[in-house]
Amino acid sequence: MAKSYGWTGSILWVDLTNNRITRVPTSDFEPEKFIGGVGLNTRIFWELGSPKVDAFHPDSPLLISVGPLTGASGPFNRAEVCGIAPQCYPEELFAYSGFGGKFPSELKYAGYDGIVILGKADRPVYLSIHNDDVELKDARHLWGVDTFETQQTLMSSHPRASVLTIGPAGENLSRLSIILNETASAAGQGGYGAVMGSKNLKAIVVRGTGSLKIARPDDFLGLVSDRMAAGEWLSGAAQSWGRYPLCGEVIKADMQINHLKKFAGCYGCPYQCMGFYDIPGIGKGAQMCVEAWYGYFTRDSSEGYWEGNILSQKLGINNYELLGMMIFLTAAVGYGAASKKDLGLSTIPQIDYAGQRQYGGQKAHHKFLTELLNGIADGTSLLSQGVGRAAEQLGQRAVDLYQERYPARGYTSHHIENVGSALHWATDTRDPYSSCHDYVFTFGPYPQIAAHFGVPGGDMTPGGKKNVYERTEDQTAWVQNHQSLKNSLPICEYASIPYAFYHPPAMDIRIFESQVLSAVTGIDYSVDKLWEAGERIWALRRAIMVLRENRTREDDTLSHVWFEQIAGGDQTLAAPLDRDQWEALKDRYYGVRGWDVSTGWPARARLEELGMKDVADTLQSAGKLGQHSRQEPQIASAPSR
């Protein structure tokens, strides 16, 4: 494909083993159908044969793609990492993780839609990209260096470049390791830092001096100015969230009054949803949401909270997983399922200083954080392999605690507050809540908005939370399709929740997304064509799950605890899931998807309608093509709980 609007037309193909760098046309992977980001990565992974290798095998590909909107002014500066995710448990699965910062746009301006990384370098290297000049360079001097210093070192030798890097956690193959850009933009969930580490790839440096070609600039400008005129875009409208750390009121006030230096955010985005904070002696950095993970456990110590964030970012550890781990280890030690010694800790402040102000203060927090996070980063702690794998080592009582907090595939509970979210979790390969807040911020609380989109809603109105199964398959399918699009266009989760900045019917997120994509690419995407692409991407992911990971209907579930009690901490369902209604819901979900109801395998008819005959053929050769589909949805007769 010649260089075109939206897409650059070129993917970098990096073979670390043989130090060979080539370029592959993006058109080889049908970008019009798979858009970019997760969609493009998924298609590439499929074309690579969905390799059945371990995450740390040299043939395990690390895929980093931007989308056609990346580089445009708006909440589009995102890239998606895909590959075999070491964090998934008990088995490694093909998953995804996105990030913002500056790197994604810089990659687009350098002329690339994505990077495919295969093989393993024989010594630590970094990938240097300066427009057409791409080479692997020695990174031995950076091995062991933290993420902030690595970036600053490389930015001094590559002026105005943006750097994507791993920290010691990734080098030492922690399954909780991240890939970081700037101070707080990370591909967090999935453990992809360790995939980079396994390949001896310390960092990717990119500097691009090109541009994003926009097919219909007047249309694009009109869409942007409409958002602005509505007071919803390019107006700093969203500055009210990230500048308040998501933890206790005392820390929130202290951070905002005494330590907030600037509003902050990703390149090219008007929202600037983050805050940039500085506590002398601890460090500077941005924070938006989960960076506040330790703030829940410090009892009003801002210093403890902030050190938790800065240290984990520098070492390159997944903050969201740390949040779940804290709950687990406090319970495990508190209930005697594990000892501090088992976990390599000499103190756990919230246990050892339970009665004290700030749980012993900064000194105690510093000791704990240093032991915990260094243990994870250098691989000496059981917890560096994730809570699920650690619990196996610790014994049955720890496994029980794990199952109470971890609904599926090794990811800590996150917003499973309605049945639709539960079904989404059950049919994904990771915690999907990086990009599906549509449930909790739109459809759950606002039934009238849900009705506009033709999906059920209103199951999470204030004081009226209830488990609804009827037509929930439609809600989940809608959100999954939208999620696939968000992660492929790409558009930031925060700026694409259907009711946050787009007030239907005056502005419908589907119309906005299809119009922006059309304006940038010059290809006319109707809402239907766009939504079909979302379904296509989801279906191809399903085909990979089935082909590579032997996914079947039985695997589409949550930990047994979610069927027995109200689980998940402060983000819970109204009641435990009802097994009969759950299985009936799955019947209907496979029906809506056009998948085989008994196996959950995709069937030929819908795959062909989605333009993926080749996928149907491959599944058939593997004996994993669904036999029937299009079962008429059976609306459950039982009343909603």
């Binding site: 500056k102 001096t209 600039p217 700093g236 390149y267 600037q272």
Partner: protein, 209 residues
């Protein structure tokens, strides 16, 4: 060598296979017709100009300014095609904003061999700007610019120079100012500039909190 110059010279033509997109917003430069060059001015005769000011204490470095600038003037988005832009340091969150300072005594103007034909001074806003149609790309204005990096830049594809023209002719004024979500940018008109002297800064009314 200043960074922007390195950038523009090091660029690869492949980056700019622009097709029709490059000049799609032709209306953007229609305002330039308002310029009616007169005879070459002496230093005393050069009128004062408006200018865009930047408050680094509240800028978050998002770079929307440069992207909107390149969209409006070039029909593409990329900081290398912007007449203004923020240099981002994500570890200190300190940002510099590089835009033509519309000097009281414009060295670029006096250096231009085709002054009032290529490098012009707008009679309404006072903007020192480049009429791309007449520019030969000799780069004398770039050499003359007292700032580092120079605020006049060679377009890597067109081989003519470009610089901020204060979006002269645009009803809503400079587009970067309009779309700055932090309100860190401000357009100071030539009349305001006369009253307040050369250096104009935002006060703290838009600051944090």
């Amino acid at each position: 060598m200043p960074e922007d110059r390195k950038e523009s010279k090091g660029i690869d033509r492949r980056q700019f296979l622009t097709g029709a997109g490059a000049v799609a917003i032709t209306g953007a430069i229609a305002g330039l017709a308002a310029c009616s060059p007169s005879t070459t001015k002496t230093e005393e005769e050069v009128p004062i100009s408006g200018v865009i000011t930047h408050d680094p204490t509240i800028c978050s470095g998002c770079g929307v300014c440069g992207l909107m600038c390149s969209l409006y003037h070039e029909g593409e988005q990329g900081p290398a095609l912007a007449r203004s832009g923020v240099v981002r340091d994500p570890f200190t969150y300190e940002f510099t904003f590089n835009v033509c300072q519309q000097c009281r005594s414009p060295s670029c103007y006096f250096a231009c061999p085709l002054k009032d034909t290529a490098l012009c001074i707008d009679s309404v806003t006072g903007a020192r700007y480049v009429n791309e149609e007449n520019c030969t790309g000799c780069e004398k204005c770039i050499e003359a610019c007292p700032f580092d990096p120079p605020r006049v830049v060679l377009h890597p594809e067109k081989k003519v120079v470009f610089s901020c023209n204060l979006c002269t002719g645009r009803d809503k004024g400079p587009i970067c100012v309009e779309y700055c979500s932090m309100k860190a940018l401000r357009y100071v008109t030539k009349d305001e500039r006369k009253e307040n002297g050369e250096v104009v800064r935002l006060d703290r009314e838009y600051s944090l909190g």
